[in-house]
C-alpha cells in the first residue's frame, strides 16, 4: 500500500507540472495584461504606453517566461503564492479569507447531496418502476438539467417580489456570525445540493439495480433472508462502493462549481475572486487558484482510489 501511494504521488508530479505549465501559458496567450487593465480602463486609450511599460516592469512581467514560471512554481511549492498584481495584497491572505466560504458551500452542497441523493437512489431502486421511482428519476433529471444560477436568480426574484426579502449580504463567516452565515449560505448550499442529489441518486439507483441482479442476492433471497437484510447488508454495501469513490472525485468539481452561485448570492469566495482575477489578468491569483484546484483533484483522486481499494477487498494495491 505504501508503495502504491508513493507511486501515485510520484506520478502526480508530471501531471502537476503539465497542469501548471498549461495554466501559465494560457494566461500569457490571452491578450492584454494587468498593467493595461489597471491603466487603460473601459473607454480605452487612457494610458500612455510608457506608463504601461513602467508598470509592467515593476510587476515583473518583462522577465523571461521561463524565469517567471520557475519562480512561481518554486514559491508555490513552499506555500508562497506571491502578491496580487492588481492589488498588491498577499495571494495567500486572499485565499485564507475566501477559501473557508467556498469550502462551506462546496462541502455543504456535497453533504446535502449525499444525505438526500443516496436514500433517494435506494428508494428508486427498491421501488423500481413504481410512481416513487418515476418521481425520483424525474426530479433527478430536473435537478441535473436546470442550471443552479437560474434557481438562484429565481430565489432572489421571488424573495424580493413576494416577501420583500433577500438573503443577508456581506462577509459572514460561520465562526463570527453563525446565524447570519446559515441564512446567507443555506441557499447556495441548497441549490448546489440539488445538483449533487441528482448525481448521487442516479448513480446509487443504477448501482443498486446492478447488484440486485447478482446471483448472490438471488441466493440470499432464496435462503429466506428478510428483504431488508438483503437490501441493507448485502446489496447496499456493494452498490455504494463506486458511489463513495464518486463522492471524493466530486469534491474537486464542487469547489470549482461554486463560482456563479457565489456571484448570485454575493458570497465573497474563491469563485468571485477567480472571475475578477481573470478579468484583470491577475496572473498570480489565477495561477494560485488553479494550482490549488489541480492539487485538490490529484489528492482527491488518490484518496478515491485508496478508499475504493479499502471498501472492495477484491482490489489490492501492491
Amino acid at each position: 500500500m505504501r508503495n502504491y501511494i508513493a507511486r501515485r504521488v510520484l506520478l502526480s508530479i508530471p501531471t502537476l507540472i503539465g497542469a501548471t505549465l498549461l495554466c501559465f501559458l494560457i494566461l500569457r496567450v490571452i491578450p492584454g495584461d494587468v498593467a493595461e487593465m489597471i491603466l487603460e480602463g473601459e473607454g480605452g486609450g487612457l494610458a500612455q504606453p510608457r506608463s504601461v511599460e513602467i508598470l509592467r516592469e515593476e510587476l515583473g512581467l518583462n522577465r523571461p517566461l521561463h524565469v517567471q514560471y520557475l519562480t512561481w512554481v518554486w514559491n508555490s511549492i513552499r506555500g508562497d503564492f506571491g502578491t496580487s498584481l492588481q492589488t498588491g495584497r498577499s495571494v495567500g491572505g486572499e485565499f485564507a479569507l475566501r477559501l473557508p466560504l467556498t469550502i462551506e458551500i462546496a462541502l455543504g452542497g456535497l453533504f446535502l447531496g449525499v444525505i438526500t441523493g443516496i436514500p433517494l437512489g435506494i428508494l428508486s431502486a427498491i421501488k423500481q418502476d413504481s410512481w416513487i421511482d418515476y418521481v425520483g428519476r424525474v426530479m433527478a433529471i430536473l435537478f441535473l438539467s436546470i442550471p443552479g444560477f437560474w434557481i438562484g436568480v429565481l430565489v432572489l426574484l421571488i424573495g424580493v417580489r413576494s416577501f420583500n426579502w433577500m438573503p443577508p449580504i456581506g462577509y459572514n463567516p460561520i465562526w463570527a456570525n453563525p446565524i447570519t452565515n446559515i441564512l446567507q449560505f443555506m441557499w447556495p448550499i441548497l441549490i448546489l445540493g440539488l445538483h449533487q442529489t441528482a448525481i448521487k441518486a442516479r448513480l446509487t439507483r443504477s448501482q443498486m439495480l446492478e447488484v440486485m441482479r447478482e446471483d448472490y442476492i438471488r441466493t440470499a433471497r432464496a435462503k429466506g433472508l428478510a428483504e431488508h437484510v438483503v437490501i441493507w447488508r448485502h446489496t447496499l454495501k456493494n452498490a455504494l462502493i463506486p458511489v463513495v469513490t464518486i463522492v471524493f472525485i466530486q469534491l474537486g468539481h464542487v469547489f470549482a462549481g461554486t463560482v456563479i452561485l457565489e456571484a448570485v448570492f454575493n458570497v465573497s469566495g474563491m469563485g468571485t475572486l477567480f472571475i475578477e482575477a481573470i478579468r484583470f489578468r491577475d496572473y498570480t491569483i489565477v495561477q494560485g487558484y488553479l494550482f490549488i484546484i489541480a492539487v485538490s483533484f490529484l489528492v482527491f483522486n488518490i484518496i478515491a482510489d485508496l478508499v475504493y481499494g479499502w471498501l472492495d477487498p477484491r482490489i489490492s494495491y501492491s
Binding site: I54, T87, L97
Partner: protein, 575 residues
C-alpha cells in the same frame, strides 16, 4: 400510444423545458466612464445645470427624471449627526486615485481624499482645499490660496508642496507614470510655484477652463509629498472626510468619520459601508430590500428593476435620480483614411441610415438620448427638439434612407459594399454593433461583425487598422477640451478615426482658452457643426445613468457623473 412511449415523451418534454429555461446568467454591467459637467472658472462660478431629458422622442419607457432629490422632510431640516449608511459598490483594488482607471476604486477613494477644486454632486465648481483663487496674465496664471490647518489622516499638515507634488505625480513628472484620467493636466500646466505653505501658483500655456474640470475629478486627489504608488495602492493617504475603518476584500469597506476633518461639522455620518455586490440581480434585490441605502452606478437600470423602483418612488420611500451619461462617442467610429470611408458621402449615408430610436430601444432598453457631439439637452449639447429635426435623427426614416441610398450611388457604391464591423466583446458593444449592422444593411452596406477583446482591438484602432467600429469611447472630465483635444484634433491622443480638419483644430484652440461660458458654448456649437458635416463618428444615443437612494438619505446629490458624487461628506440620515 403505449405507456412507455408516453413516459418517454413526458421526460423529453420536461428536459426541453428545463433546457429552454437555462439561459445565461445576467452579468453585472460593465461601468463606463461618464462625463463630468464643468463650468468655466469665472470669478463667480455659475452652477451647472443638469439636463433632464424631457421631450424625448417616442421611445419605450421614457423616464421623467429628477436630477436632484425631492426631500420629504421640511426644506429647512437640519442635518443630524450620527448613524451609518450602506452604499453598493465594488471591492477596492487600489487607493491610488491617480493611477487607477477603475470607477469603483475612484468612488471609494473619493471618501478619503480632497482635491484642490471639486465639483460636489456635479452641480458646481467650488474650492475644496483652496479657500479662494484668482487669475492673472489673462488667465495664464492661477493662484490658489489654501485653507489653513488642513491635516492628512496621519496628522501631518497639508501644504502647498503636497499640492504641487500631487499634480506633478498626475502628470507623470514624479515616476514617469502618467495618470490615465488626470494626466491631461500636462497639456496645460507649464510650471508651478509654492511661495509659501498656503499658496500654489500654476502657470498654464493658455487660459484653461478644462484644467478646473480635471482638478475636480476624483482622480485628482491631493496626497502627501513623497507618497509612492505602492504606498497609495495599499492604503489611502488623504485628508478627506472619512478614514478606513475596515476593509474586507470582495465583501465590504467600512469608512469612518475623520474626527479632524477641516470642514466644520462634516461629515455627518459616523460611518459609511460600501458593500461589494458584483451581480446586478443581487444589487437590485439588496436595494429594494433596504440592505443597501444608496445605489449609484455608471449605467441604466433595467426596465424590470425600474418598475419595482417606481413603485417605491410613488410611495415616497425612494428617490430616483437620472442623468445623461455623457458618453459622446457611441455609435460608429469610422476610419476616415480607409479607401471607402474617406468619402464623406459614404459617412453621411451611414449617418442617415442609423435609426437612433431603435438604437436606444435595443442598446439601452429605450432609456437613452440621441447624441450629436454631446447629448441632446445636456449643457454642451443642442436642445432635443432641435436635434430631432436634423437629418439622420428625424422619424420616420424613409426620407433619410432614400437620401442615404442616393449618396451611396453618387459615391459609386450602388451595388453596395462588404465591410468588417469591429466591436468589443464586452461592455454591450455587441448590441451596438448588431443595431449598426442591421441599419447599414438597409443601404447595402453588408457587414461582418468581428468581436475582439479590447486589449487586441484598441491598439488596432489606434493604428487605424480597421474600417468601422461599432462601440463607444468614454471620457472622464466632461469638459469639451477632452473630446475635441483627444478625439478630434489632428494627431489627438485618442484620435482613432484619423480625422484632420484645420477648422476643427483652430476651433479647439479658441474654445480651450475661452473663459466666458456663453462664448465658449458658441465655439463648441461651431465645432459640432463641423463634426456633423465631416462625421468621423456616426453618433448613436447616450444612455441614462441612474441613481437610487432611500428617502431618509439626505445630502446626496445625483450630479452629472459618477466621478463626482462619491465623497459623500454631506450625507446624513433623517431617521
Amino acid at each position: 400510444m403505449s405507456w412507455r412511449a408516453l413516459r418517454f415523451m413526458v421526460i423529453m418534454g420536461l428536459l426541453a423545458v428545463a433546457a429552454a429555461c437555462g439561459q445565461g446568467a445576467t452579468t453585472a454591467p460593465t461601468p463606463t466612464a461618464t462625463a463630468t459637467l464643468t463650468t468655466a472658472p469665472s470669478p463667480t462660478p455659475t452652477a451647472a445645470v443638469v439636463a433632464t431629458p424631457t421631450g424625448a422622442p417616442k421611445v419605450a419607457a421614457t423616464p421623467t427624471p429628477t436630477a436632484t432629490p425631492v426631500p420629504t422632510a421640511t426644506p429647512t431640516a437640519q442635518p443630524s449627526k450620527g448613524g451609518e449608511l450602506v452604499q453598493s459598490g465594488s471591492s477596492v483594488s487600489s487607493y491610488d486615485a491617480h493611477n487607477t482607471s477603475s470607477v469603483a476604486d475612484l468612488g471609494t477613494s473619493a471618501k478619503h481624499y480632497n482635491n484642490l477644486i471639486w465639483n460636489p454632486g456635479g452641480q458646481r465648481l467650488e474650492c475644496d482645499l483652496c479657500q479662494s483663487y484668482e487669475f492673472k496674465d489673462d488667465g495664464k496664471t492661477m493662484i490658489f490660496h489654501l485653507v489653513p490647518g488642513v491635516k492628512f489622516h496621519d496628522g501631518r499638515a497639508l501644504t502647498s508642496k503636497d499640492v504641487v507634488y500631487s499634480l506633478n505625480k498626475m502628470m507623470g513628472l514624479v515616476d514617469g507614470v502618467v495618470s490615465p484620467r488626470s494626466g491631461l493636466l500636462k497639456e496645460y500646466i507649464t510650471k508651478m510655484e509654492t511661495p509659501d505653505d498656503l499658496t500654489v501658483i500654476i502657470y498654464v500655456q493658455r487660459p484653461a477652463p478644462a484644467a478646473f474640470a480635471i482638478m475636480a475629478h476624483n482622480s485628482s486627489a491631493i496626497v502627501p509629498e513623497g507618497a509612492t504608488r505602492q504606498q497609495l495602492k495599499e492604503k489611502p493617504l488623504g485628508s478627506g472626510p472619512y478614514v478606513v475603518g475596515e476593509s474586507i476584500p470582495g465583501a465590504h469597506t467600512l469608512v469612518k468619520r475623520n474626527p479632524n476633518y477641516f470642514k466644520p461639522g462634516l461629515p455627518y455620518l459616523d460611518s459609511l459601508r460600501i458593500v461589494t455586490i458584483t451581480d446586478t440581480n443581487a444589487s437590485n434585490a439588496a436595494f429594494l430590500t433596504e440592505k443597501v441605502h444608496i445605489r449609484t452606478g455608471a449605467g441604466a437600470y433595467s426596465s424590470d428593476f425600474l418598475a419595482q423602483l417606481e413603485k417605491l418612488v410613488s410611495q415616497g420611500k425612494v428617490v430616483h435620480g437620472v442623468r445623461i451619461g455623457l458618453t459622446p462617442f457611441q455609435g460608429i467610429l469610422v476610419n476616415t483614411q480607409h479607401t471607402i470611408f474617406k468619402n464623406p458621402d459614404v459617412r453621411r449615408a451611414m449617418h442617415l441610415a442609423l435609426d437612433r430610436q431603435a438604437y436606444a430601444a435595443i442598446v439601452s432598453d429605450g432609456r437613452a438620448i440621441p447624441i450629436t457631439l454631446f447629448g441632446a439637452g445636456t449643457p454642451w449639447g443642442r436642445p432635443l427638439e432641435e436635434v430631432m429635426k436634423l437629418p439622420g435623427y428625424r422619424q420616420p426614416k424613409d426620407q433619410d434612407i432614400a437620401e442615404a441610398k442616393r449618396l451611396m450611388t453618387v459615391a459609386g457604391y450602388s451595388q453596395g459594399i462588404d465591410v468588417i464591423l469591429e466591436a468589443r466583446n464586452s461592455g454591450g458593444d455587441d448590441k451596438i454593433s448588431s443595431v449598426v449592422a442591421a441599419d447599414l444593411a438597409k443601404i447595402n452596406i453588408r457587414t461582418t461583425i468581428k468581436l475582439s477583446d479590447q486589449t487586441v482591438l484598441y491598439p488596432r484602432l489606434a493604428k487605424l487598422d480597421y474600417a468601422i467600429y461599432g462601440g463607444r469611447q468614454g471620457w472622464n472630465t466632461g469638459d469639451p477640451d477632452e473630446i475635441l483635444g483627444s478625439y478630434l484634433i489632428t494627431g489627438g491622443s485618442r484620435n482613432w478615426t484619423g480625422y484632420s480638419s484645420p477648422e476643427m483644430d483652430a476651433l479647439f484652440l479658441a474654445e480651450s482658452s475661452e473663459l466666458d461660458l456663453a462664448k465658449r458654448k458658441q465655439l463648441i456649437l461651431q465645432a459640432e457643426a463641423i463634426y456633423l458635416r465631416d462625421l468621423p463618428v456616426v453618433p448613436g444615443a447616450d444612455p441614462f445613468q441612474d441613481s437610487g437612494w432611500w428617502s431618509y438619505v439626505r445630502g446626496f446629490e445625483s450630479g452629472i457623473s459618477i466621478n463626482l458624487e462619491q465623497r459623500m461628506e454631506t450625507l446624513w440620515r433623517s431617521q
